[in-house]
Subunit: 451 residues, 2 copies
């Protein structure tokens, strides 16, 4: 298989042995990154240099397109080994990416218990805890002694995701207690598990949203959490490493939704067409919504002809109230996201935002009034306090809506980030322009009347 | 101490015993939340119901103001016990909050090793890994057998932060190897530590920024990471639970900086004056900067008087290009934050954003042109394609600046989130208005010339 050409790009045979040694001792994620950056023709050959264990670990870290290509170019037996040795939750993720036909063939080649585990995980809805749990964990009976439990752990499969917690169940797999390896090691060998294990088991369920499970683990500083089904039977565990990834993805989604990037997190290196698909619909929807805001201006074009300084003031007003909206939303949506506040705190948060908003409103109102004076002709100066007043009203609306709407959405079990910054600014512009131009138009009429 | 009045608010004596039992068996964080929400006069009394161990754990979860008050109302011996039993890193956090005089007194009451550990941690700069590490970890010699190592771990202090990793050092504490408890349990008792421990130790240093250390742990799925000093000597470890908190805080900061909330993360329930202090400077700075953008409009007021439809178009243009800027920034800044992209990927990300930007620019340009036709009088229709062209240019500027500026800041070792959304939108408005109005003004002059 190793032609001169390949050796040329990978180095000579002596170098190849060195490379093999390196690849098998480096952390799997680093090897994954290395292989992903090789030219496609070298990827399969390099991958074959890995030991079976390392190959399985590295495979989990490769990008989807490299995985799919490798599955095509490896021998059937090699593929079988990797798929069989993968952890059920990682295998489920792989199967989601692959074409249905390939998945079906691969499922048939799995051993019955592994096939069962994968089918179970794939049976849970996307985004639920069932989808990220692993079915490999240590289970103990209450009547076991500490010594017997430690022996059982020692003799168990080395591939178990974690051995640092063991779960105590009855014959029907009903979850009763939890015990840490630390507790086992610090206990007298003859003591029974039931006497040292803790009865207060913090647990999650297969249908719990992944973020909620992750927040639970973060709150209680846990390394693993048992997952039960609707009948309270232990069916799997989730581990902190997967939960860290989920918390990070959730934060990315929060940031991007605030900025109007929709539908799951977008990677900085996604292909341009994915980027377009995630961003353009929002932009176009917003420009259509903006017809509403702009329609508030259109009927007043005659006023603007008479008082063109308004056209200088309006963009500053829109820009400033938009900034306030983004600030309020970022704090509220993130606070809801990390569970720092819940809908029951609505009044408390509103009170704080309105108080802070009043300070902001007065400062921005005065600033806008002063700036308006800068560009106004002497006869136009009466416009300045009107602009200041509308600014005050816009800031207060932003404070109330930016707090209340995400809170209300959360109470309705909807995503608080549905109220994105762009949506809020469009709404604020519409209200602000309408108010401002109506007042100015009234002022113009009154002054004409006086003249 | 328990007067009738107090008993009234806490329930009767029977209830008190029940409460005591509950408080000592619940997770410390839940008890902390419970005490924090009690009226201040009940907090110290309730806290006294806790066992010594539970009291120490709960104390770490109380909000700063409750902690400080408790320290004042507890007996000297009780305070000593809690402070002595705290983990050095948590103690350092507490000392940062307290007045210097109190800290000095408390430090004097600590045992010499604990005082030393605290002084060491407080000696590192804020935000560095040294500040969040713990000095309690398991250290082994290479010549020890697995059996002896396990005995050592069993006999060690139960309060060690983690026993799931042990670190192998030489006599000068130079870090040589790492071994997990899992490896120890799965090894033959007579084997020497040097033969099973791993030589490839992933480690961090005391001056490494906390976020960088957290990213390292996330990348390699580690539960704990050794921290070395400049001479490569082991001085502490950091654990995943603290790192999860750091990743979350960093994400919150990213979101809030994008929205123009400055200086560390703001909690949804911060007092209004803190909120004002964090948000108002940005808003005022921005309104001052906006003088630049508005100055682009002011000289063209006569053109607007003649063609008032422009005043309808400009806000749509500003709003849409602002949205594009927020989208691009959110993806780039977060990508840099999570380490998904680095400055060396600048050209690759730029290429993608420009390609996606061209699609966006064309779609938004056409939309704005069509909308402009909606409000334009027949004689003003020539304004529509001009608006579309400026929109195209604004989107492309947003794509390039939104990608390039954060990347360049990162390369200069500055925070990429310094380029906030508000800053970008102000800049884009200035450039867009200037371009649009110059072209329109030219158009007006040409048409006058023809007429």
């Amino acid at each position: 298989m190793l032609t001169q050409e390949v050796c040329g790009s990978l180095g000579n045979f002596a170098g190849l042995n060195q490379l093999k040694l390196e690849l098998n001792s480096l952390p799997a994620i680093d090897v994954g990154d290395y292989i992903a950056e090789l030219p496609p023709e070298d990827q399969a050959i390099t991958f074959r240099l890995l030991s079976k264990d390392q190959a399985t670990s590295v495979f989990e870290y490769l990008p989807p397109e490299v995985r799919e290509q490798l599955l095509g170019s490896l021998h059937r037996a090699e593929v079988c080994h990797i798929i069989e040795a993968m952890r059920p939750d990682d295998r489920a993720v792989l199967f989601e990416e692959l074409p249905a036909g390939v998945v079906k063939r691969l499922l048939q080649q799995l051993s019955p218990p592994e096939r069962q585990a994968t089918a179970t995980i794939l049976g849970y809805a996307e985004g639920t805890t069932g989808r990220v749990m692993t079915t490999e964990y240590v289970r103990l009976r209450q009547g076991l002694s500490v010594e017997a439990a430690l022996s059982k752990i020692r003799l168990s499969d080395r591939d178990k995701e974690t051995i640092y917690y063991a779960y105590v169940t009855d014959d029907n797999r009903k979850l009763l207690q939890v015990v840490s390896l630390r507790q086992l090691l610090f206990s007298i060998p003859e003591v029974l598990i039931r006497d040292i294990a803790s009865d207060r088991v913090i647990k999650t369920s297969t249908d719990t949203p992944q973020e909620e499970t992750a927040r639970l683990m973060k709150r209680y500083d846990l390394l693993a959490l048992p997952v039960v089904d609707r009948e309270d039977r232990l069916v799997g565990i989730v581990t902190i490493d997967d939960m860290v990834d989920i918390l990070e993805e959730e934060a990315t989604e929060d940031i991007q939704k605030l900025a109007g990037v929709s539908g799951g997190d977008e990677a900085a290196l996604s292909p341009p067409y994915i980027t377009l698909r995630k961003r353009l619909p929002w932009l176009l929807a917003n420009i259509v919504l903006y017809i509403g805001a702009a329609s508030a201006i259109a009927p007043f074009q005659h006023v603007i002809s008479v008082l063109p300084v308004i056209s200088v003031i309006m963009p500053i007003m829109a820009n400033s109230s938009g900034n306030v909206a983004f600030q309020v939303l970022s704090v509220t949506v993130r606070g809801l996201g990390v569970g720092e506040v819940t809908p029951k705190d609505t009044w408390q948060v509103l009170r704080k935002e309105v108080l802070a908003g009043m300070g902001t409103a007065i400062a921005l109102g005065i600033s806008l009034s002063l700036l308006s004076l800068l560009w106004a002709h002497p006869t136009e100066r009466w416009v300045a306090p009107v602009a200041g007043l509308v600014m005050v009203s816009n800031v207060l609306i932003a404070a109330v809506a930016g707090t209340f709407l995400p809170m209300a959405l959360t109470r309705l079990k909807l995503d608080p980030a549905l109220i994105s910054g762009p949506l809020m600014t469009t709404m604020l512009d519409g209200v602000g322009f309408m108010l401002f131009l109506s007042m100015i138009s009234l002022g113009v009429r009154i002054s004409h009347f006086h003249v």
